[in-house]
């Protein structure tokens, strides 16, 4: 879970930053779809898409390796795929007769391919949120047929996550101040600590509930009728269309590299 209290948007005056958010969302999705469609072991195609990511990061003026550095967050999940080299049958790569284990070529190729897919896809996501302000990202989705109430809820949530996370941090600071560890005395039990944490969650819930009532009251007194309206409208300019087509073609081109032998 994240306890990251900084917005992920990094401002810069680049071509990528000025693109319509919808173009970036669609290009990112096509990219991740392409990453998923590449067959196991098509290293050239993987390489081409990785180069594409590096180029995209460079074009956004965040630094070529901006996303690479941040992509480590996907690593813990790799454990789930770790048994693959031992499980899938195929020509043996290394054998451990003593342990009755064999690392197969087929299994290793599959494992490495999954690793690369995750690595590249995470970078695409990182660049999307780094180059697009979140409100633009979210409201742009209305025109991508995402239900408006859902978009409104997500946009509303974004406004308050930092407020409520601050509140959560204050609660934790208060707990830390009031429950010091006394040397020589044992730590309190798991159940006790868990219930204290639960009480904190409960009081955070009540504060959030009260806050939502106040916010709703403030909105209602200003004429809110259940419909969210925004000033920002999105226009696809010529450069947006050109970028969309160019990026899509580049991704398709990279994808077709997997048929090279």
């Amino acid at each position: 879970m994240h306890i990251d209290l900084t917005d992920q948007y990094r401002h810069s005056e680049s071509l990528i930053h000025h693109l319509d958010p919808r173009v970036k969302v669609v290009v990112t999705l096509i990219f991740i779809l392409a990453v998923g469609l590449i067959r196991d072991g098509s290293w050239i195609a993987f390489g081409a898409l990785f180069l594409g990511i590096l180029g995209y990061a460079a074009a956004s003026r965040l630094g070529m390796f901006y996303a690479v550095r941040r992509s480590i967050i996907a690593i813990p999940f790799l454990l789930a795929a770790a048994p693959l080299p031992f499980i899938i049958s195929g020509p043996a790569l290394i054998s451990f007769p003593a342990l009755n284990l064999t690392i197969t070529e087929t299994g290793t190729i599959r494992f490495v391919s999954i690793m690369i897919r995750t690595f590249i896809a995470v970078q695409a996501g990182i660049l999307l949120s780094a180059t697009t302000p979140f409100p633009g990202l979210v409201w742009g989705m209305c025109s991508l047929r995402i239900p408006r109430p859902l978009v409104a809820v997500i946009a509303f949530m974004y406004r308050y996550i930092f407020v409520l996370a601050d509140e959560a941090i204050r609660l934790m600071r208060a707990r830390a101040a009031r429950s010091p560890e006394i040397p020589g005395k044992g730590k309190p039990s798991f159940i006790w600590r868990g219930r204290v944490t639960g009480s904190m969650v409960g009081s955070l819930f009540l504060r959030s509930l009260d806050r939502s009532e106040r916010v709703y009251g403030a909105m209602a007194s200003r004429g809110y009728d259940g419909e969210m309206r925004t000033y920002s409208t999105f226009h696809m300019r010529g450069s947006d269309w050109v970028s969309l087509i160019v990026f899509s073609l580049l991704i398709l081109g990279s994808l077709s590299l997997m048929f090279l032998r």
């Binding site: 994240h2 998923g36 599959r110 996501g125 609660l171 639960g198 939502s212």
Partner: protein
């Protein structure tokens, strides 16, 4: 940046495209129903209440407590959200949380977000809520039964969603079921204890300070059908765990072969509608498999839900 990921946020690349699309398909249906139900339940309050409570779950997930050896217990929140808001509102809140985590923080992938929403939103909300309500029905609605129901519900919800994730990974050929399922279920049986204790603590505080909050969830829409929606989901999951799609996948999942003897019996009877798990009028194998799995899952789910629903209505008329 503090960061302790749970293996429930599946990143992109771990599920095959076909499996991911089925996940989105299911998620879209559930989100659609959740939006309609919460609109009926909350009216104009829908957006501010759901939005702020989604932010609450996000913040509550950050409140942790050290357990042992550097690990810490924290909340996933699906059960708590469903208990205080009802299962559909809980689903919607969790959907928003998962969407923001994926879009803003890359916690969980975009293409696989459908399954993340199903696992951590729909399944936790409905399983936690269903268990909570079952306990309340067995023991009566008292403080004690709420605490017991919250404890069991929270634990069950985490374990079931871990099992669901293991099954999805297995069908994608990423993690074999005979290793992945015990590993995921085992780890989350422990993580679930943290979830359960925190949920009980939260319910205890609400019970002591503002008990009327707890009755809102108990009277929310979807409370009657929650158990049956859950059963439908579980049956669909069980079916897909042993589906022929798994053995059609080129690699991984050799366990299916071991189970072939057993599967041979089950397959023939349950899939006569769609021989070989493909639809006759389509030729592309990938596309037809996706469609067939989607249709099959939906049919199973729909059937169970319908049967359950009619039996509930008969039950209410009889009462």
């Amino acid at each position: 940046m503090l960061f302790s990921p749970t293996p429930l946020h599946i990143p992109d690349g771990f599920l095959s495209i076909g499996v991911s699309i089925v996940g989105w398909f299911l998620a879209v249906i559930f989100i659609g129903i959740a939006l309609r139900q919460t609109k009926d339940q909350l009216g104009e309050r829908q957006v501010p209440l759901m939005g702020i409570l989604a932010a609450f779950i996000f913040a509550a997930q950050a409140i942790n407590f050290p357990i042992a050896a550097g690990t810490s217990g924290h909340l996933l929140g699906g059960t708590l959200a469903a208990i205080v808001l009802g299962p559909w509102a809980g689903t919607l809140v969790m959907t928003a949380v998962i969407a923001v985590q994926a879009l803003l923080f890359q916690d969980g992938g975009l293409l696989v977000m459908g399954w993340n929403i199903m696992n951590m939103g729909v399944i936790t909300a409905f399983s936690g809520f269903a268990v909570y309500m079952l306990v309340a029905r067995l023991l009566g609605t008292t403080t004690r039964s709420r605490l017991i129901g919250g404890f069991i519900g929270a634990w069950v919800s985490v374990v079931i969603s871990a099992i669901a994730a293991a099954i999805e990974l297995a069908i994608s050929g990423t993690s074999p079921l005979h290793l992945g399922l015990p590993a995921m279920a085992g780890v989350h049986a422990l993580i679930g204890l943290g979830e359960a204790v925190i949920t009980v603590g939260a319910i205890g505080l609400l019970q002591a300070s503002r008990p009327q909050v707890l009755t809102t969830g108990e009277t929310a829409p979807g409370r009657r059908s929650a158990v049956f929606t859950l059963i439908g989901l579980l049956v669909a999951l069980g079916v897909s765990a042993f589906s022929p799609l798994a053995s059609a996948h080129p690699d991984g999942l050799e366990f299916i072969a071991e189970l072939q003897g057993f599967l041979g019996l089950a397959q023939d009877s349950s899939y006569e509608l769609m021989p070989d798990y493909t639809l006759p009028f389509l030729s592309d194998p990938v596309l037809t498999t996706i469609l067939a799995v989607a249709v099959g899952t939906l049919v199973v789910f729909g059937l169970v839900w319908f049967i359950a629903r009619t039996s509930v209505q008969r039950g209410t008329i009889g009462e």
